[in-house]
């Protein structure tokens, strides 16, 4: 062999041997790496507000699906229109993979607050599933903003009043009841009883 090519040849041989013994990159898994998962977690657009969801339901948008991740009893007691029930502990069963791992429908997880929905989201995100979202602050928030919207104060901006009117209309849609505008709404709260100490509100 020509002496000029010995060194490059040796280098390439070493590289070749090294490529053979290099650990394989597993391309079959679409799982996210920690950095990718963290970046996805920091995307604030993955939280959808109750106003957006209310709008989607009323307009009968075909491109989304509400997924209730609470237990079956809670689902059958009350659930959002058009939602399906995937209890959190069944999330990874094969029968639901078709709903979670696809690219056409946007799934919106919801629960009483955010914790279960968020957990569902994180598990799906790490597995590489796309198009999943979380209902911001859950059903507690749904009832506080859509079903029983808070009346804006006298000094509130026009935008706030418009939002209130929209929410009021949505409330009528969902409850099928007529409500007069600008009537103070009584809120019923269920406090969690803590033994011997103050009561606490439910939260995330």
């Amino acid at each position: 062999m020509n002496r000029r090519y010995i060194i490059p040849t040796i280098i390439l041989l070493i590289l070749g041997v090294w490529f053979i013994f290099m650990p394989e990159v597993d391309n079959s898994k679409r799982e996210l790496s920690p950095n990718q998962l963290l970046a996805a977690m920091n995307e604030s657009s993955r939280f959808v507000s109750t106003d957006i969801v209310s709008d989607l339901i009323i307009k009968n948008d075909p491109g989304f699906l509400l997924i209730d991740v609470r237990s079956e009893e809670e689902y059958s007691s009350y659930n959002l229109p058009g939602s399906i029930n995937i209890p959190l502990d069944s999330l990874l069963l094969p029968k639901w993979v078709g709903y979670l791992n696809q690219y056409s429908i946007n799934n919106i997880f919801y629960s009483n607050d955010e914790l279960k929905a968020e957990t569902a989201w994180i598990v799906c995100a790490r597995k590489g599933y796309k198009n999943n979202y979380v209902l911001s602050k859950g059903l507690n928030n749904w009832f506080e903003t859509i079903i029983e919207p808070v009346v804006p104060s006298e000094t509130a901006s026009q935008d706030e009043w418009d939002l209130y009117q929209t929410r009021l209309a949505a409330s009528q849609f969902f409850t099928g009841a007529k409500e007069e505008a600008v009537k103070p709404v009584v809120k019923r709260k269920v406090f969690v009883n803590k033994p011997n100490k103050q009561r606490a509100e439910g939260g995330c």
Binding site: I7, N35, M41, L115, F143, A200
Partner: protein, 201 residues
């Protein structure tokens, strides 16, 4: 002709050496973190509730008598400065994977406690850190606010604030117990239609 051939040889030599140097650098420089624990394992832990700090652990945090605990505050620096649990260090969620922070928690052999504004943000940190391979880590349910008020009482996560069904029933004047809407099974629709059509001509 001769000059040109010499040039070619030098070029090949230098570029090969450069190539090897680049490769060596690429693989000796710090690698990204990888997940060591499967999602399913961590998920089952969350389902069983073992990710939530129990009374005993909360008691230790309150008494502040266990110096081997690592307490991580995942809120923003601004909130941390306003007030935090004694001896807690501040690692905002979005900086969770900064190498300096990873060094702190990744090889901590004793229990780690995480808390945030709510349970949710601490839960995110929990999922990340746990999947990186840290074994003993738990979340303070309810976040900073409830911990400072109620100490070692385990906050009940995911509690419904209102009686949803009752409210809907009242508002609709007793008419609807469940909101009426067809449950859409969008994925399986195609299969069902095909089955029905089989009976035709």
């Amino acid at each position: 002709m001769l000059n040109f051939k010499i040039m070619k040889y030098k070029l090949a030599r230098y570029s090969s050496i450069l190539f090897v140097i680049v490769l060596i650098l690429a693989f000796t420089l710090k690698r990204e973190e990888v997940f060591v624990v499967d999602t399913e394992v961590v998920f089952n832990e969350v389902l069983s509730g073992s990710n939530i700090a129990n009374e005993e652990i909360l008691g230790q945090v309150v008494d502040n008598n266990n110096s081997s605990l690592l307490i991580i505050d995942v809120r923003t620096p601004g909130e941390y400065i306003k007030g935090h649990i004694e001896n807690a260090i501040n690692i905002p969620v979005k900086n969770m994977l900064d190498p300096d922070y990873v060094k702190i928690y990744k090889h901590w052999a004793k229990p780690i406690i995480v808390y945030g504004v709510y349970t949710c943000d601490a839960q995110r940190a929990y999922m990340m850190i746990r999947q990186l391979g840290v074994d003993s880590i738990s979340v303070i349910a309810g976040g900073y606010k409830y911990f400072t008020e109620f100490g070692d009482w385990v906050f009940p996560v995911e509690s419904a604030k209102y009686e949803f069904a009752e409210i809907m029933k009242e508002k609709s004047g007793g008419k609807l117990v469940q909101p009426k809407a067809p449950v859409r099974r969008v994925i399986k629709k195609a299969v069902k239609q095909k089955e029905r059509a089989e009976g035709g001509c």
